[in-house]
Amino acid sequence: MNNKSIEIKKTALYEIHLKHGARMVSFAGYYMPVQYDSIIKEHEAVRSNVGIFDISHMGEFLLEGKDVIKFLQFIMINDLNLLEPSKGQYSCMCYENGTVVDDLVYYEENPECFRMIVNAINIEKDYQWLNDHLGEFDVKITNLSTKRSRVAFQGPKSDDYLQPLVDVDLSQINRFYFAHCTINDNPVFLARTGYTGERGFEISFENKFAEKVWKDLTVTGANPAGLGARDSLRLEACYSLYGHEISDAITPVEAGLSWLVKPKEGIDYIGKEILIEQKTQGTENVLVGLNLIDKGIIREKYKIFKDGDEIGFVTSGGYSPTLKKTIGLGIVKKQYKEIGTELEIKIRNKLLRGKIVSTPFYRNV
């Protein structure tokens, strides 16, 4: 593939990252900070203090119209009846065969207006998919991705640091709820959500406020943290990453997200038939947690064996800075899923011993 003609975009916080000494990498079409100083230090800052992440590369859509709920009930596997204004919901939209178009969060501004945050690598695909399925639904979709910036403010002290800056009582915002408020007079969308396994917030605002908001949030004592720590944190918390645990080849049930598949009586949604069947009868392959008994690091795509037979593959793996050992997630044939099962993982040319363990590895939310 020739990528030379594709221009890599910069978020509104690009210059700030350079000033912080970030190592920038190209990810999902953007220059993003992978780390500032040390991934392990940034990871630990989120677990013990607060980390602030630029997640402006992610997508943000506004869906408006009188059929928004009906449309989302048709295209999402989770049940919108569980939602109410000022609340968000994690869900997947799936293909007819049950594999995943994307996993995402949408927030109900009001019954005719939803804000949706999608994966950076899937923005164009999702926008197309949503529009292709509008049909007769009275819904208008606006792509705000490049007009707005987004940061995640995550860690045990996030409430303490943020409260003095905002004009709302944060204790009144429960997990997955949101508010429109101001951070030192700059208007923001503030949701108590995250991808780190730690309490915290995800915040969205117009690009013109980006540098100001970032500065206000960092002077509190929060450490800038990059994509490297974002990945190690989410792996400890066992949150799915599109292209790894879920993809257009893996269904939510296989990925351990059965709880997202809702019966939604009387509502026909895309992928429903196969997903309900998988949820009730189980799947041939299932997601499991992995540890190594031997020393080494496991990475995505490494093959998993049992007594010489290939039984699956690693979807994500790495070093856990919190547990100080190797952790991973993998998809294996269901007969091997029991916790404690010993297996082998092929690392380069060696088979190392590992075992299946319970998940998540860590969560404090």
Binding site: I40, K295, Y319
Partner: protein
């Protein structure tokens, strides 16, 4: 550039350093290489007694985000490995030219030494790689 390249060492274009003492070569990765890898969490070293050709992979260096190789700068036999790295792989980050050394080689081809780079030559290669 903010990287160190001690003058008394030899280098390779694949970012190993080599120190010679009594016909033994001690080898590790350079300050630049450890910086590129980031936090190192595991080093898979060869076993003492193994023999490698120049250019083959002798060790794998795993950081949080990436995997790097230690490439044999000279053909020869591994006569010692840095056992400390098993429990303290971060020594490669904190002391790449000292406590973070990886292997000692009894080299078999004297003429291969001529292919190694001086610190000045290595520095010039790095400058090209970075810019």
């Amino acid at each position: 550039m903010d990287y160190e390249f001690p003058d008394h060492l030899k280098y390779t274009s694949t970012h190993e350093w080599i120190r010679f003492e009594n016909n033994i070569a001690t080898v590790g990765i350079t300050d630049y290489a450890q910086h590129q890898l980031g936090d190192i969490v595991f080093v898979e070293l060869p076993e003492v007694g193994m023999v490698f050709e120049k250019g083959s992979n002798a060790a794998e260096i795993e950081s949080v985000k990436a995997v790097g190789d230690l490439i044999m700068p000279l053909s020869g036999e591994i006569i010692e490995i840095n056992e400390n790295l098993a429990d303290n792989p971060e020594l490669v980050n904190s002391s790449p030219f000292g406590e973070g050394w990886m292997i000692r080689i009894k080299y078999s081809h004297l003429d291969e030494k001529d292919d190694l780079l001086s610190s000045e030559e290595y520095k010039q290669i790095l400058q090209k790689e970075i810019h």
